[in-house]
Every structure is written in structure tokens, then in C-alpha cells.
């Protein structure tokens, strides 16, 4: 990786002018300025080196190499209409989820902004959730880490595919490694689900409300409207206050059914998918000044599990980033997720998943405005005999144009 970074440094100096010209050339504007379209992109090359099975939303059973091309088409029509299309070619939305390669439109949205001060925006399409604050900085150029916070990627024993037969069967999942093809985190990354949202800024307050086709924990193949309609929608909202430029704090909430049609046949008689919901309440706080940026989020989620009852979990993270030089910055993040108990069917109660903590550290270097390298080390520990990615090294090189 060091060799790759040194090569990148040489490449950066040689190619900076070319990338700048490419950046400029990928913009089209009509003569009067009524129509403007910008094509931009990120090319990520990542490597993950793990001592156990990969943790979180890293798929497969060993170290992995993960290239990714993301293209963004931002288009403005006049001052009131804006659209975004995000196309990605990679090894699956989550690294190695599709080992042989995949290409998708991850986001497509149309936004109407009737007033220039941004007090009201109405948006329809497939786009990132309004829940929480991390989503606003989730792309590889802005995220100081390579992986997402625990709250957005730690896979729990909740499944959207089938109702557990018994409480014991549900609790038994704690003793095996994550089954990522069928289990869910509290929030699945940026949760690019489909629907509509209303959001805006009123003086020092930001508000956002969305009506989507799938829960914030839903997996990527449930996000598209052609895969899942709005029969069992999820509503989410966020309200935030910015008392001054340095501080921002907000509260978020989300409520909706999380089971997929595959679970229909397994839910108890007299109930349906819509009887089992995910309710999540979160709070976030951020502060920045000079070279420092600090973020924190905490959320409580309740999954109503067929044949089990309410499965509650609390997760949070605190993250800090500091710029040492114009190019070099470091970040550290403490993550934890705690699981409540559910009745075990034998008169007692047991934690329904393994408590986990994880500390993430990362060093990033921006060679130019178009090239960035990151190195991450994470140490995590789960209660119980099954460990997944207790030590993780990851490296990422990003070209932005």
C-alpha cells in the first residue's frame, strides 16, 4: 500500500492539471445559464485486511479488494429545479456483496425549491435518508474513515426475511457469525430508499420529513420502488438547530415496517408484515472550529419481532477529526452497541445479540484537490465466543473529478 501511495503522489503531481481540465470539461451550461449540468465522480480503490471474518457490511470470508466508480450528474433547471443521478459500478453496494461486479443507479431524485432562501424543498425519487447526520458526509471524499460508524453497519440478528419460529431460535442466532444476506443493521448505510421528502431551512432551524418505501434498516435490494412498493411505508424526520456556525444538534425519528414480502408466509396468523415495525429515535451533535471537527450520534431502535416481542438496542458513536497540515488529517471514532434483553421462553430473559465496542482510527492525506489516500485501523470486540474482524486494516485511494 505504501508503494501505491508513493506512486499516487507522483501520479498526483503529473495528473493534477489533467484532472482539473477534466473537471472543467464535464460541465455543460446553456448560453443564458438556465440549464446547467455537472458530471463528477469518485474512483475508489480499497483493500481490507482482517484477522477474522469481515465485520459489519463487508461481505465474504477473507481479505478483500474493492474497486468502485461513482458518477454523479447534478443538473439545475433555472433556480427552482434540481436533479441528481448517482451511478455506481463496483462489487456490490457493500464491498463484495456482488463479488463478480455490479452496476446500479443508487440515487435519482428531482427537487423543487420554490424560494431561493431554501425554506422549502420538495423532493421525489430514490435518495439518502434524512435520519441522522452521518449520511450528509458519507461519500469517500468526505468520510474521514473507510467504513461507516457502527450504527450504520453493524449487522444484528434481526432479519427481514422470515419470522423466527421461537424465542430460542431467535436467541440462538447470537452464537453464529452474522448472516449478512438476511440480517439487518439499525441503519443500512445511507439508506437510499424511494419516496418523497420535504425539507428546508428556517432561520437557524433545519427540518426534514420523508415518506419512503422501506425502513432505514432495509437492505439495498429493497430500496428501489420496482422491488418494494409503498404498501408498508416508513416515515422519518429530522429537526436540527444551528445556534452558531460552530454547533449543530438535531433529533431524528423513523417508524415503519421492516419485514420484506418473503416474511409474509412466516408471520403468525392474524398478523401481517405491517404489524412488525422498526421504531428508531436518534440525536446528533456536531461542532467544528479551525482544524477540529467533532460529531456524535446516539440512537435507540426497537424492532417488533414476530413470536418474540420487542427487541431494543442502543448504539452511539463519537468521532473527531483534526487537520495537522493542509494535507494530513487524523480521525478517531469510538462506537458501541448494546442490546436489551428479550424473554427466553423459559422464564428468564437474555440479551438478544452480542454487545460490541469498536474504536476506529484513520490517517488521511490529500495529495491534491483530486487525490486522497486513507489508512484505517479498527479494533472491535463482541461479547461472546464469535468475533468478526476484531482487528481490521483498510486502505483506500480516491480520485475525485
Amino acid at each position: 500500500m505504501l508503494v501505491l501511495l508513493l506512486a499516487a503522489s507522483q501520479l498526483a503531481n503529473a495528473q493534477e492539471a489533467l484532472l482539473q481540465r477534466l473537471d472543467d470539461a464535464l460541465t455543460y451550461q446553456s448560453s443564458g445559464g438556465l440549464f446547467r449540468s455537472d458530471l463528477s465522480g469518485l474512483v475508489d480503490v480499497e483493500g481490507y485486511f482482517i484477522d477474522h471474518r469481515p465485520p459489519g457490511l463487508l461481505f465474504g470470508n477473507a481479505d478483500l479488494f474493492n474497486p468502485r466508480l461513482s458518477l454523479f450528474l447534478d443538473t439545475h433547471l433555472g433556480s427552482q429545479f434540481y436533479s441528481l443521478v448517482q451511478f455506481r459500478a463496483d462489487r456490490g453496494f457493500d464491498p463484495r456483496a456482488m463479488p463478480d461486479g455490479d452496476a446500479r443507479f443508487d440515487e435519482y431524485l428531482l427537487r423543487w425549491t420554490p424560494w431561493e432562501d431554501g425554506r422549502l424543498n420538495v423532493q421525489v425519487g430514490k435518495f439518502a435518508t434524512v435520519f441522522g447526520k452521518w449520511v450528509q458526509r458519507h461519500d469517500s471524499w468526505q468520510n474521514p474513515f473507510i467504513t461507516a460508524p457502527l450504527a450504520y453497519e453493524n449487522v444484528t440478528t434481526i432479519t427481514d426475511q422470515a419470522a423466527p419460529g421461537t424465542r430460542a431460535a431467535f436467541l440462538g442466532r447470537r452464537n453464529v457469525a452474522d448472516t449478512k444476506a438476511t440480517w439487518l443493521p439499525v441503519v443500512w448505510g445511507p439508506a437510499y430508499t424511494s419516496g418523497a421528502s420535504v425539507f428546508g431551512q428556517l432561520d437557524k432551524f433545519d427540518y426534514a420529513f420523508e415518506f419512503k418505501n422501506a425502513s432505514i434498516s432495509s437492505r439495498p435490494n429493497a430500496w428501489d420502488a420496482k422491488d418494494l412498493g409503498w404498501e408498508n411505508p416508513t416515515v422519518s424526520a429530522r429537526l436540527a438547530h444551528t445556534p452558531n456556525a460552530a454547533w449543530n444538534y438535531g433529533v431524528s425519528a423513523s417508524h415503519g415496517a421492516y419485514l420484506l414480502p418473503a416474511a409474509d408466509a412466516t408471520v403468525p396468523g392474524g398478523y401481517s408484515r405491517s404489524s412488525y415495525r422498526q421504531t428508531t429515535i436518534g440525536t446528533d451533535l456536531s461542532w467544528s472550529h479551525h482544524g477540529w471537527q467533532v460529531w456524535g450520534e446516539a440512537m435507540v431502535a426497537r424492532f417488533q419481532v414476530p413470536n418474540v416481542g420487542n427487541a431494543d438496542t442502543f448504539t452511539y458513536f463519537v468521532e473527531a477529526k483534526y487537520k495537522f497540515t493542509p494535507s494530513l488529517f487524523a480521525a478517531v471514532r469510538w462506537n458501541q452497541q448494546l442490546f436489551d434483553t428479550v424473554p427466553d421462553g423459559a422464564g428468564g430473559a437474555q440479551h438478544w445479540d452480542r454487545n460490541i465496542f469498536r474504536v476506529d482510527t484513520a490517517l488521511s492525506y490529500r495529495f491534491t484537490r483530486h487525490l486522497q489516500g486513507k489508512l484505517q485501523y479498527s479494533l472491535s470486540h463482541e461479547n461472546g465466543p464469535v468475533q468478526q474482524g476484531e482487528q481490521l486494516w483498510a486502505a483506500q485511494l480516491t480520485v475525485k473529478f
Binding site: Q20, G118, Q201, H289, G291, P326
Partner: protein, 219 residues
């Protein structure tokens, strides 16, 4: 418009008379400038836009004399220049300074700004700073063009042309410039507009005389 023309003509005449009296040379002319840029649109993908956006400044040019000897009484630059960030634009968007000049970047908006550059002539990052705090500043100690950016507002662009000569001037928005107090001799006169557009022409300056050089020159 008529009044502007008369004022300009009187100023040029006075400048010529002063130059003649001092035995120094002057040069004046017009730089053909590109069309003003269109209003930038911000792409706030995941949040509402904060604050009103001012239109970008119309283009101007920095005209400077290269190869001329420094004046006998030349002193290092000690002045302080300000480039504000207001309405999510650098203002002025283009400045020319002598090597050693300190430039302050006051934030005129109610939200954070940042200034950074990865240019060879100066690599710096001032972090995030507020409207009410002491403006962050940078001393430009190497000649060259320093491109300015804000990491929070990607559309923001600015340029500092750092020069090793006291003989420079910034044109007005019509491209009109006038450089006075120049030594006599044969030099290069250059006009810098942006990374893609710059001109240069040889010029012969005579004591007490005003030369005229337009950019681009005749083929």
C-alpha cells in the same frame, strides 16, 4: 459614460505629465477579457442551502512588467491585503501582491468558511473560521499563482498572483490598465487572467514617455 471617458482621459493625461516630470516611463492599454462567468449553482445533495449566493465577479487581469530592475529604494512588502468571503464568493476574486505580502481572509457570512490552497507557490489550509473572529491570514513568500478554494463551498474560486516585482497593476472590469513609475528599457509585459488565459509582449519603455500595449497584441 461620457463623464467616465472624460475622467479617464484627464487621469491618463495627468499620469503622463507626472511621468514626464519624473523621467519615468508608463504603459497603458486594454486586455481583452473573457465573458463574465454565469451565476454558479450550488449542488446541495443532502441538505438545504444555507445563505444567499452572490454572483461571481466579472473577470479582470493582472498586468506586470517582467525583467525590470528593482528601484534603488525598494523595500520588502510589509502591507496587509484583505480578501473577504461573502455571499459564498471570494471578494476580490483576483488580487496581485508583492512577494512577502500578508493577506487576511475575513469571513463575511454567518456560517463557516475555509481557505486552502495546494498551489506550488503556497500550500496552506486555514481551517474553519467564524465571522466575528480575527481573520485568518497567510504571508505569500514565493512568487507564483496561488489558487484559493473553500472546502465547505466547492464552487468558490479565487487567485492570488504573487509577484517578485513592484511593477504590476490590476485592470478594471473593462480590461483597461495603466502602469506608471516604470524604469526605461526593454522588458516583457505580461497579462494574467486565469490558468488558461495569459498574454505577454515585449515592450520598450522610454523615459518620460507613455507606451501603449493591448492584449492580445496584433499578430
Amino acid at each position: 459614460m461620457q463623464l467616465t471617458r472624460i475622467t479617464t482621459a484627464v487621469a491618463l493625461l495627468l499620469g503622463t505629465l507626472v511621468a514626464a516630470a519624473q523621467g519615468t516611463a508608463s504603459v497603458e492599454g486594454t486586455v481583452t477579457l473573457p465573458k463574465p462567468p454565469s451565476q454558479v449553482k450550488i449542488n446541495p445533495r443532502y441538505a438545504a442551502q444555507a445563505g444567499a449566493l452572490l454572483p461571481p465577479e466579472p473577470p479582470t487581469a493582472v498586468v506586470f512588467l517582467e525583467g525590470a530592475p528593482l528601484p534603488a529604494d525598494d523595500k520588502p512588502a510589509t502591507n496587509v491585503v484583505q480578501v473577504a468571503q461573502k455571499g459564498m464568493q471570494f471578494g476580490p476574486g483576483l488580487i496581485a501582491v508583492r512577494k512577502g505580502t500578508r493577506v487576511e481572509f475575513p469571513n463575511g457570512d454567518d456560517f463557516y468558511h475555509n481557505v486552502f490552497s495546494y498551489s506550488k507557490a503556497k500550500r496552506f489550509d486555514l481551517g474553519r473560521f467564524l465571522k466575528d473572529e480575527k481573520p485568518a491570514a497567510v504571508t505569500f513568500d514565493q512568487p507564483g499563482v496561488v489558487k484559493l478554494y473553500c472546502e465547505i463551498h466547492e464552487h468558490m474560486r479565487g487567485s492570488v498572483v504573487v509577484l517578485d516585482t513592484p511593477y504590476f497593476v490590476k485592470s478594471d472590469t473593462n480590461g483597461v490598465y495603466r502602469l506608471t513609475g516604470l524604469p526605461a528599457g526593454q522588458f516583457k509585459l505580461k497579462a494574467w487572467i486565469d490558468d488558461k488565459i495569459s498574454f505577454e509582449q515585449p515592450v520598450e519603455l522610454k523615459p518620460g514617455a507613455a507606451s501603449r500595449v493591448n492584449f492580445p497584441g496584433s499578430p
